[in-house]
Symmetry: C2
Subunit: 206 residues, 2 copies
C-alpha cells in the first residue's frame, strides 16, 4: 500500500513539474502575462478542467514558477561562489553565474524581477529564496570589506543600491535590447566581469 501511494505521489510530482515546464515554454512564446492554462493542458494532452486537479488557479501556477525560479537562481549564485574565498573573487563568480542563469531563463527572470502579471503577488514561501540571495550577496560584500578589498561604505545603503542596480541594469538592458545574444558577445552582459572592478573604483579600500 505504501508502495503504490509512493509511486502515485512520485507520478503526481512528475506531472506537476511537467505542467510547470510547459507553462514556461508558453510564457516564452506568448509573454509572461500571456500564460493560459488551457494551452498548457492542450500541450500536456489533457482537458483544461483536469489541470485543476494539480493547480487550483492560474495564480497558483505563477506562484509555483516563481518559487522554482527563485530556488534555481539561489542555487546558481551559490554554486558560482562555491570553492572561492569569500570576498571579491567569490562575488565576481557569483554575479556572473547569476547573470548567466537569468539570460538562460528569461521568462522566469521576468516573472521574478519585473512583476509583469497584474494582480499576482508571490506567496511568502515562494519569495523566501529571494531573501537568501540578498543575504548571500550581503555576506560576500562584508567579506570583501573584511579582507580589505572594499571600503566599508560599500555596505552602506548607497553601496547596496548602486551595486544591485549595476547588475540589474546590465541584465535589464541586455534582455530588452538584445535578448538572443550569447553571454560573452552581449553588448551589456560582456561587462558583467567588470563589475567587481567598478565596485573597487567606487569604494576603494582604506
Amino acid at each position: 500500500m505504501a508502495d503504490t501511494s509512493d509511486r502515485r505521489a512520485r507520478r503526481r510530482a512528475q506531472t506537476l513539474e511537467e505542467i510547470l515546464d510547459l507553462a514556461l515554454d508558453l510564457m516564452a512564446e506568448e509573454g509572461v502575462a500571456g500564460l493560459s492554462l488551457s494551452a498548457a493542458a492542450r500541450r500536456l494532452g489533457i482537458r483544461p478542467p483536469s489541470l485543476y486537479k494539480y493547480f487550483p488557479s492560474r495564480h497558483a501556477v505563477y506562484d509555483a514558477l516563481f518559487e522554482r525560479g527563485q530556488r534555481a537562481y539561489l542555487e546558481a549564485v551559490r554554486r558560482g561562489a562555491a570553492g572561492r574565498e569569500p570576498g571579491l573573487a567569490a562575488m565576481a563568480a557569483s554575479l556572473e553565474a547569476g547573470a548567466r542563469w537569468v539570460m538562460a531563463n528569461q521568462a522566469l527572470a521576468q516573472l521574478m524581477f519585473w512583476r509583469p502579471v497584474p494582480g499576482f503577488e508571490p506567496s511568502a514561501r515562494a519569495y523566501a529564496p529571494a531573501l537568501a540571495v540578498h543575504d548571500h550577496f550581503t555576506a560576500l560584500t562584508a567579506a570583501a570589506i573584511e579582507r580589505g578589498e572594499l571600503h566599508p561604505d560599500a555596505a552602506s545603503e548607497e553601496g547596496q543600491a548602486l551595486g544591485s542596480s549595476l547588475i540589474a541594469g546590465l541584465l535589464s538592458q541586455q534582455l530588452s535590447n538584445e535578448p538572443d545574444a550569447a553571454f560573452e558577445e552581449g553588448r551589456f552582459t560582456r561587462w558583467v566581469a567588470r563589475l567587481p572592478g567598478v565596485l573597487v573604483a567606487l569604494y576603494p579600500p582604506r
Copy 2:
C-alpha cells in the same frame, strides 16, 4: 469648407489623444500587455467597432503610445539639460529629469523599455526619438570629456554600456520593488544624483 474640415480634423485629433489617454489608464491598471480596445471603447462611451475608425488595430495603438512616450521622454531629457553648460552638470540634470519622467509615466516606460507585448515591434517612425535620446547623451558625454570632467574612455563601448546600465538599473529596481515611492525617498531613485560622481570615479580625467 476649409473651416469645417479644419474643425473636424481638430476634433479627430482630440479623439485620438483621448483614446491614447484612456489606453494609458488601462495599461496602468491591467498591465501593459493587458490593454483591450473594447475596454478603451467602453470608457470613451462608444462601441468597440467605432474605435477602428481611429486605429486600425491594437498594435497601432501600441505604436502610437510608443511614439508619444519616446517623444515625451526626449523632451524631458532635453529640458533637463536646457540652460546648463554641456558636460557633467547638464548630464546630471538630464538624467534626473529623465528618471523623474519614467517614474511619473511607468506604464509608458514599460512599453518603451521592457517590451512586454509579444509580437509588438515599434515602427521606425515611433522609434526615431529614441535615437535622438541616445545622441543627446552621447553629446553630453563628449562635452564632459572635452571639458576635462571625464576620461576619454567614458565614451568607449564599455563606458556607454556601464553608464546607460546604471540609470536603467536604478529605475528598473525602483519600478519593480517600490513603484509608488516618491522620487527623493525611493530606495533606488534617491541615488540618481550620485551617477555623475560614479562616472567620475570610473573614468577620472587625465
